[in-house]
């Protein structure tokens, strides 16, 4: 258990650059999630930490030790693979004992720690099963136990939940988080599921095309995205292009004026107004002159939430709120009808427009 530092980490292949530059410091006991679209370099980064890939440039430090040149088997990282990678010819207990054997832990001690680790993942009753006799979730927990039992300096997980169904995923997610916190493990987890990242991580690293876009707590990323890419990748966000009419007022490309924060970044190529749909309050009726009015183009009922697609003289916005009660007039709003909108001007953030659009394949 140590800190993990990635220092200007870079990986080039013949034609592609998988990781352009990653700087990151994960504190002792911190869970950091690498988040980003497919192909952005998350796995490559993680595998450079484990030692499976040699970086082209940069360093990896575990604790105070520079391990960039240290071979995999001496790095003392605990890795959980997407497909579990259990040893199919060994029992559950043998799988978990493997790392201890490699560390020449005495038999009695080893058995004690294996039993402990299996208890931790609630699999003590399946110790003598073969991996193929387990469900996906059980296999995943064996993989966790196997990686944890050796007390790794850094715990690494590459999309550990992607092979599980939705319900199990939520369950194991909580389990991993609880274990990690209990054991105080410095952890790096890869995911492209933002919900997963937001619920589990102490901090998130949003990556795009091999670069770090933003690092921060879930709240920082959500409330204060550094750029359009982060705003769109983390959570839902209205992104409207336009210009600053005057401090606190934004003119969209179709000419509509919208209230916004007074903090504007210096930008040459225009601005983007970023407004979370749930920050928009909708009221039935035309409202008073000077209010923001919109025509409803679609209403999407999502159970607990309802989403309204709105047109403001050519500018489209989405608003969402908890589904109104039966006697609420909003409940009967239909496409074509008019609504009045309002939001706290500070919630409408201004971001520099992206010259180059994110590659979200």
């Amino acid at each position: 258990m140590s800190t993990l530092v990635l220092d200007r980490l870079r990986k080039r292949y013949d034609r592609t650059t998988a990781v352009e530059r990653v700087d990151l410091t994960a504190k002792q006991g911190e869970l950091v999630a690498l988040l980003g679209p497919s192909g952005c370099g998350k796995t490559t980064t993680l595998r450079m930490v484990a030692g499976f890939i040699a970086p082209t440039d940069g360093r990896v430090l575990i604790g105070d030790r520079d391990v960039t040149q240290v071979p995999v088997h001496l790095r003392n990282t605990g890795m959980v693979f997407q497909a579990y990678a259990l040893f199919q010819h060994m029992t559950v207990a043998q799988n978990v004992a493997f790392g201890l054997e490699m560390r020449r832990v005495e038999r009695a001690e080893r058995e004690k720690r294996v039993a402990e680790a299996l208890r931790l993942v609630r699999l003590d009753h399946l110790a003598d099963r073969m991996p193929r006799q387990l469900s996906g979730g059980q296999q995943q927990r064996v993989a966790l136990a196997r990686a944890l039992v050796v007390n790794p300096a850094v715990f690494l997980l590459d999309e550990p939940l992607s092979n599980l169904d939705a319900k199990l995923r939520a369950e194991v997610r909580m389990e991993i988080r609880a274990l990690q916190q209990r054991l105080g493990l410095t952890t790096l987890i890869v995911t492209h599921d933002q919900e997963e990242a937001l619920t589990m991580a102490d901090r998130l690293v949003v990556m795009e095309r091999g670069r770090v876009r933003q690092i921060g707590t879930p709240e920082e990323l959500y409330e204060n995205p550094a750029d359009v890419f982060v705003a769109s990748f983390v959570g839902n966000c209205n992104l409207v292009a336009g210009t600053l009419e005057r401090p606190g007022s934004f003119r969209t490309q179709s000419g509509t004026l919208l209230p916004c924060t007074s903090e504007a970044p210096a930008a040459n190529d225009g601005l983007v107004l970023a407004l979370r749909p749930e920050r928009v309050t909708v009221t039935p009726g035309e409202g008073a002159p000077g209010d923001i009015r919109a025509q409803v183009t679609a209403v999407t009922y999502l159970g607990a939430q309802t989403e309204y697609h709105l047109d403001l003289n050519g500018t489209t916005l989405r608003a969402s709120r908890s589904t109104p009660l039966h006697d609420d007039p909003l409940r009967r709003i239909a496409p074509g009808e008019k609504l009045t909108l309002s939001w706290d001007a500070a919630s409408a953030r201004l971001l520099p427009a992206e010259t180059e659009t994110g590659d979200e394949t």
Binding site: A50, V72, L74, A85, L86, Q88, H89, G99, M102
Partner: protein, 275 residues
């Protein structure tokens, strides 16, 4: 349903069972120099084959060569198969074809190549002489060693391809997981790759052992006249000796010996795998 499998069953019967049954029947006949084969139900051919120290020796030689070649192919084939299995997919197909390429050359032609290489005036002796390492020719051709080398070269592709197929099915991540848990490369091999490949080793060994037991052209051409394995001995009886009953009995003994050892061998290996 029955109608569907009938053609296949018929084919298997005519191609496999019927000739076998006929061979079994012939092996019980009596041989006479003038009448060649006289119908009988006698075990005399089997008794003679089993009791004769010469044929005991031939069988022992055959078993020894087959066993040695099988072990050699496993040892030589494993690294090649591993390398092949872990290759990038576009290069893998080319390498697979290259592995198969030697099989396009018949055993006789291939043996001719070995003869050119191993002969007293052959490539190796010429090179040794040119380097002044030897004065007289080294007897390489017509030795058991030549046969073992020759047969191993013939059966190696079968072993490599069988092993490669099994190694390919071992996820690379299992190896990575082991390394991540502190295993050195050799430990990863010993504790993960090898045990998971054992079914392939068993399948490859069975295949190769059967091929070796039945080797004909290679022992004949590279072993020289004094070296006898079972298949040439069977041929001898059928063609040179005109003694079909005895030849058939020898063929059956070869078949049974191969079958028994194959079953025992694969059972031992699979037990190892489970444990």
């Amino acid at each position: 349903m029955a109608a569907l499998v009938l053609p296949a069953a018929l084919l298997v019967f005519t191609l496999l069972v019927a000739p076998m049954a006929l061979l079994a029947r012939i092996s019980l006949n009596h041989y006479s120099p003038t009448e060649l084969m006289v119908e009988a139900f006698t075990a005399e051919n089997y008794i003679r084959a089993v009791a004769d120290p010469y044929y005991q020796q031939v069988l022992a030689t055959t078993l020894g060569v087959a066993f040695l070649c099988t072990v050699l192919t496993v040892l030589l084939g494993f690294p090649a198969a591993y390398w092949l299995a872990r290759m990038e997919s576009n290069r893998k197909s080319i390498a697979t074809i290259l592995t198969l390429l030697p099989l396009l050359v018949g055993n006789v032609v291939r043996s001719a190549g070995w003869m050119a290489l191993l002969g007293n005036e052959g490539g190796i002796n010429a090179a040794l002489r040119a380097l002044h390492l030897t004065s007289g020719p080294l007897q390489l051709l017509y030795t058991p060693g030549a046969v073992i080398v020759g047969i191993t070269a013939v059966v190696l592709p079968y072993m490599v391809l069988t092993l490669a197929a099994v190694i390919e099915s071992i996820p690379r991540q299992a190896e990575e997981a082991a390394a991540n848990l502190g295993a050195t490369a050799s430990t990863v091999f010993r504790r993960v790759v090898l045990p998971l490949s054992l079914p392939g080793v068993a399948a490859g060994s069975v295949l190769v052992f059967i091929l070796c037991m039945n080797a004909y052209a290679t022992p004949l051409l590279l072993g020289g006249p004094q070296f006898k394995m079972m298949a040439p001995a069977v041929y001898d009886q059928f063609v040179r000796g005109n003694n079909w009953p005895f030849g058939a009995a020898l063929a059956f003994i070869l078949l049974v010996a191969t079958l028994v050892l194959t079953v025992i061998g694969s059972m031992a290996l699979s037990r190892r795998y489970r444990g």
